[in-house]
């Protein structure tokens, strides 16, 4: 990946772009037109309905073979006709599509996309660390990875095959990957207390700061990327606040759990939310932010299911709709690309839900509730 000898120098500048890596091209005409062309191939609600009504897996595979997922599915079907194989094919398609986009966009669009997609690198590193912490098999960890960020499948596989968390941290440092900075800072505390949240929290905090540093320009496209990043940070903070509702926070340093860089959820509001004990109170406290109405809509399903995943999905839905809406603004701006990246991710999530749901005999109504139609 990167030479070991100059890793520290590269890491010292992490976040700030060196002169030779600053965007040289800012033209969005070609990239956006191509992205719009790709967007026209996305699956519609009618297809999802058809997929949900499929009687068995082979019928679903047959339907998917006629879509853009066909080539990836054909390549994977050699391994068998199972939901896991279809899932792998869907992931392959997403990775291939994102890599294709990164191949034809301008420098600025690539920089902004990679910054936003950095959360996938974060997700992958966290998955590997969790896997190593729980001493899972390499294959199990690799199956959960989705290399759509800057790190490649080969690099992630190599990391997943390492012995423990310390080896992962050292390898990332040797490669000059910026995420090794927070890992190295907190790995000793992790080793002492064997508390995984220490590493995860420092990674989350580092990502939001790293991304914010890369998006400091006043240009409209940077502002849009900052807004999307801020909504993601808000979403993470709110999920943390919801998790803390059932926890005893009297002896906890709650301030430490707050991620800076959000749009609507300030540190003061976050601290206020963590002192509450009921979801209703949290939603009341969020009045004046767009999240209140969004969370109010799923209050009943949340109380029925008693699962934070319902609230998490509602917040995800909100960020998704904001990202998709950004595509209707400037036709020669970054919004078109953001809109496509989120729409594609949502499409893959929807198809995965249907394939897995159908495999376990989930009713269509239940699946429909889980999907986000755009």
């Amino acid at each position: 990946m990167k030479a070991a000898k100059d890793a520290p120098q590269k890491l010292a500048k992490a976040g700030k772009l060196p002169r030779d890596r600053r965007p040289r091209t800012r033209d969005y005409g070609y990239g956006n037109a191509r992205t719009r062309g790709m967007k026209s191939n996305l699956l519609g609600a009618a297809f999802f309905e058809e997929l949900m009504s499929a009687s068995d897996l082979s019928k679903m595979i047959h339907l998917l073979l006629d879509t853009q997922y066909g080539p990836d599915l054909e390549a994977r079907l050699i391994q068998g006709h199972t939901p896991a194989v279809v899932d792998d094919a869907l992931k392959d398609n997403m990775v291939r599509t994102f890599a294709k986009i990164m191949g034809f966009v301008s420098d600025e669009a690539r920089l902004l996309s990679i910054t936003l997609l950095g959360r996938w690198d974060l997700f992958n590193i966290k998955t590997i660390i969790r896997g190593k912490h729980m001493k899972l098999k390499t294959e199990t960890i690799v199956d959960s990875l989705l290399p759509v960020g800057e790190m490649t499948q080969v690099e992630l596989k190599e990391l997943a095959g390492l012995e423990d968390v310390l080896a992962v941290t050292d390898t990332l440092w040797t490669w000059g990957v910026p995420y090794s900075i927070p890992l190295r800072e907190s790995v000793q505390e992790y080793l002492k207390e064997s508390d995984l949240s220490v590493l995860e929290l420092s990674l989350d905090r580092y990502y939001s700061q790293w991304a914010a540093k890369r998006l400091t320009s006043r240009r409209a496209n940077y502002k849009l990327a900052r807004m999307i990043l801020g909504l993601q940070v808000d979403s993470t903070n709110l999920v943390t606040a919801f998790r803390l509702l059932k926890a005893d926070t009297t002896e906890m340093d709650v301030k430490r759990l707050f991620l800076p860089g959000g749009v609507h959820v300030t540190e003061e509001l976050f601290l206020g939310l963590t002192s509450l004990s009921d979801v209703d109170e949290v939603i009341d406290a969020l009045k004046g932010t767009p999240y209140s109405a969004q969370l109010e809509k799923v209050l009943v399903p949340y109380l029925d299911a008693n699962s934070i995943a319902v609230l998490e999905r509602a917040l995800e839905d909100y960020v998704m709709r904001k990202a998709l809406g950004s595509g209707f603004g400037d036709p020669l701006g970054f919004g078109v690309m953001v809109s496509y990246l989120y729409a594609k991710q949502n499409e893959v999530t929807n198809v995965r839900i249907i394939v897995k749901g159908n495999a376990v005999g989930m009713p269509a109504d239940r699946m429909r509730k889980e999907l986000i139609f755009v």
Binding site: G29, Y30, N32, A33, R34, T35, G37, M38, S40
Partner: protein, 108 residues
């Protein structure tokens, strides 16, 4: 269907060009009977015509570069839109033609 659409577009384009060219031809006929103008006026006219033509050509070039890039992007993903893209790309040529007609009128 696509062919009939293209034919309609070409007819509209042709009519537009013909209407634009009529004043130029009329001015050209008038010029034949005019007497010689002062050299400094002739130079000024030539310069004005050259500037008009250059700006028109550069504007068309700029527009075509943007439209061409977007058209190439669309063509890569949706080859079936090719015919429409050629028409859209060629539309910017009108800017040059307008510049040419105006330059001709100045110099007449």
């Amino acid at each position: 269907m696509i062919k009939s659409k293209l034919a309609t577009k070409m007819m509209v384009g042709g009519t537009f060009l013909a209407v634009a060219a009529i004043p130029a031809m009329a001015v050209a006929q008038d010029a034949a009977v005019k007497v010689a103008v002062a050299p400094n006026v002739a130079i000024a006219k030539a310069v004005a015509a050259a500037v008009t033509m250059s700006i028109a050509a550069m504007s068309a070039g700029y527009a075509q570069s943007k439209i061409g890039a977007a058209a190439a992007g669309t063509l890569a993903e949706r080859p079936e839109a090719g015919t429409n893209l050629i028409v859209i790309t060629a539309l910017t040529e009108i800017i040059v033609l307008m510049g040419f007609v105006i330059a001709f009128m100045i110099n007449a």
